[in-house]
Amino acid sequence: MSQQSTAKVSLAVEIAGLRMKNPVMPASGTFGYGEEFAPYLDLNRLGAIVTKGLSLRPKAGNPTPRICETVSGMLNAIGLQNVGVDAFIEHKMPFLREINTPVIANFFGNTLEEYGEVARRLNEIPELAAVELNISCPNVKQGGIVFGTDPQAAHQAVDVVRKNLDKPLIVKLTPNVTDITVIARAVADAGADAVSCINTLTGMSIDVRRRKPKIANRTGGLSGPAIRPVAVRMVYQVVQAVAIPVIGVGGISSAEDALEFLIAGAQAVQVGTANFVDPDAMQQVIDGLERFCIEEGIADIRELIGSLEV
């Protein structure tokens, strides 16, 4: 899109005090630490950058095979392999610091103490605009999803992080629950500034000739276009249930997909698996949002947020 039209349409949004040029950012774990995609798209054009989930110590991840393709989606059981918070600060932040886009660090812990400790470390990085707390990974035995499926545990995890953090706190919710609004309320009560939903849906795929699961962990997290209707529904429900902003994530690969979430009430969106399919996917979503606003005569994208008619 031309510079000229940018002047006419405002795509800017604000989430918990975090100002973004537009509502589009990568979903954690699908964009590495940013540098991996730098050759293919201009990171300065993104609303924010969300990095791979960090833990206190480096984490090895699961055995292979870790991924498999499914119909309009993929399963992954990476197991939160990451460099750890210290190596992140030393090796990944220097690159991220140079980018003119807010950086959000996604993180998790094995225990409540660890959640608190990682939050404390991240809080000391001035260039981090916000953090995203993952209480929803389906692929690790400890931590992760344990905190995301029980409202009390979720409340406790957010509480301990909140006490160690001055930055805006986004909490990422799992869809693998009976009623996501219960968890959303619990984390909002504990002091979350925003929630992102959803993480992957637990799934399984079987190699029928070998009679074995296709990924070593047996089950994995389903992502990609296949999960979008579930994600839109959950975002819609959570928007009704809590007063804090909601970030929509799940199966977005085009501007139209992103618009579904915004109209359902999400203030921003994250693009995940689509980055693998097309490293330029987020740029296309941003351009498409702008085009849509022009076509629809909308001057400010915020007019669209929550504009659903039922």
Partner: protein, 284 residues
Amino acid sequence: MSNFKTRILANQEISPGYWRMRIQAPGAVADCRAGQFLMFRVQLSLLPLLRRPFGIFRTGFQPSDVDGLPPVEYLEILYKVVGQGTAMMSELHHGDRVEILGPLGRGFDGGEPGRRKILVGGGIGLVPLYMLAEQLVDGSEVRLLMGGRTRDDIIVVTEFERLGVQTYVSTEDGSLGDRGLVTAVLQQQLDADPDAEVFACGPLPMLEAVYGICRQRQVPLQVSLEALMACGVGACLGCVVKGVGHSETSPRFLCTCKEGPVFRAEQLAWDRLDRTEGTCEGCK
């Protein structure tokens, strides 16, 4: 490294189930190094969802269709039809639009000039060895040991010969060349010339055997591996293999897409590689 929409110049079956595709690719000749690969988007729609990784077979120039225009730069891939994506690729024609991400990954290190080079290819694993041979024939004597199950799995060997490479073919059923495994030929070759360097690509059991043979004789070995890939650029961590020194307590994973696909043999934890790591559907 770029992501570009382009068009197919040719796509033909060269042996039952094996196809050769020529793709227009500006900058390819200068940019690609032997052993690198690309991610091929089969359709611009989302079916199949993920891109497919393929080794780059060769690059070159062909005359333009239009008089007076400069020659067209291309790259070629060779692929075996094994599933949905490759079956769809075999339906593509001259002029069809495709999307390519690449060249990606680390290629081969050319080794010491003057020392004899032995390239070992199993089935479709032959692909990344051609550009390497092109590069090596200038400074060294190059031999290709090519193995397959039957004669249908033996492809493009004459093109290696045209480069001046001495080729040795073996098939498991004896339908072409010697009957048996390509590793038996490697053993003979190294017994005759223990000072050679070896470069291999093929199914994991073959690579393991090649590794055993080379290690015993302390012959330098580089291997090109395969792994399931989603992103191809080091972001998803789906494609890892176990590096040397890997253990449950101090895991060392290497990204096949970024730190590979070509590894020096001593980088890998051979005794801990899974059958699913570094295997090649096309050569099983």
